[in-house]
Subunit: 212 residues, 2 copies
DNA sequence: CAACAAACAGTCAAGCCTGACTTTTAATTC
DNA sequence: GAATTAAAAGTCAGGCTTGACTGTTTGTTG
């Protein structure tokens, strides 16, 4: 054993940690400086990782950013799942669900994702990485929302209302990047929750009347 | 008169035309290449305007882009007003209104605006130009939507429903920049139009019951 | 314990974008 | 019709970003 106690960290673990630090720093830079303001130099400095080390793990900026997209996807999924677990049961469930979604789509991870979407729009290589991941996230979020709302998608119109809810929070998230919008968002989503509740009930009753 | 018939264009008009060509080219570049892909050189080439002429009108990139923001604001307003005038009267009004809004927020002008919003997020000078204009557009669009829907904002909840409609189309517009989304958008907005109609009625009835 | 491989660190040249400068062209005014 | 002034055209240097290259440290294997 030539190694001292402090250097007992296995190589594999070191690699994982180094990459994680770089990817976290990348996401931070995306939020603070935007995509084009995120230079690889800045990321390496921010992560406290040498330029050489960075280029060892991610040879080009694209490699770094694509990995950041994947990393961010995982973070978004985890955050959403965690928030979902904290939701109260019973009454006012719908309100809590849409508020949670609204908050999630107004968080820094959304901002970072937004930067990547917009950048991908004019960068085919990035788009190739972003698109499939985004579709997966979209489907998962939809599934989760349906589950949390206890909605019945076999009823006509319900699927569209859930999608509308997600597109709404996406729009609110976008508005939130320009000016802090928390209060306005709260009011809108409260009203949305009420409307959604009666609409989901209404759709159900309409279907029941048709079938009976 | 030394000038020939073809050079009879007054200086003032020439200037106006030259600026318009540059600003249109800027918006086109924003849509096709994104904000950071929009170099001043590219814009001058695209506009068929020499670099010197460009720098005469807009000394810095920021000057050009800020002017493009203002220009785009006008274009957006005009497009929306024109689309509003084409709307059918009478039945299915709500459906037509939300579809029109959905289309507008999925058009190239929205894409260009999106690029500017995201860029402004990490550029204070640009933000200073974008924010006030965006607020004005937001207010105008809201007012127009209320008018087109014939909604009564004195009824509680109605204002929020209109805002939600606008944030929804914003979210749909954002989704549309990643993948063409026309069909999905149509279904969602049709359902939302139905829901909005009953919700607006519902809000009205609820208020009537409270007051009687 | 020694040899080998992988990770890490730092430097630097090439390429691109911006905006300053100079020259040329066109319009206006006396 | 000539002088004056504004607009347009072209050129180029400075600054920034990227990623290629070389040297050093750390972990692994025989």
């Amino acid at each position: 054993m030539t190694s001292t106690a402090s250097s007992r960290i296995p190589q594999e673990e070191r690699t994982r940690l180094m990459r994680a630090r770089l990817l976290d720093a990348t996401v931070e830079c995306l939020v603070e400086r935007g995509f084009s303001g995120t230079s690889t130099t800045l990321v390496s400095e921010r992560a406290g990782v040498s330029r050489g080390a960075q280029l060892h793990h991610f040879p080009t900026k694209n490699d770094l950013v694509v990995a950041a997209v994947e990393h961010l996807t995982e973070v978004r999924g985890a955050e959403l799942a965690a928030a979902a677990r904290r939701l109260p049961r019973g009454d006012r469930r719908t309100r809590a669900v849409v508020r949670m979604l609204g908050d999630h789509f107004s968080s820094p991870v959304f901002t970072a994702a937004l930067e990547l979407w917009v950048a991908a729009r004019s960068d085919p290589a990035l788009m190739a990485a972003v698109e499939p991941l985004e579709q997966r996230v979209g489907r998962e979020t939809h599934r989760l929302t349906v589950e949390l709302l206890g909605a019945d998608e076999s009823v006509p119109g319900v699927r569209e209302l859930v999608q509308a809810t997600l597109d709404l929070v996406r729009g609110l998230g976008l508005a939130n990047t320009l000016t802090d919008d928390t209060r306005r968002r709260g009011r809108i989503l409260d009203q949305w929750a009420r409307t959604l509740d009666t609409a989901l009930d209404g759709a159900l009753h309409a279907t029941l009347q048709e079938t009976t």
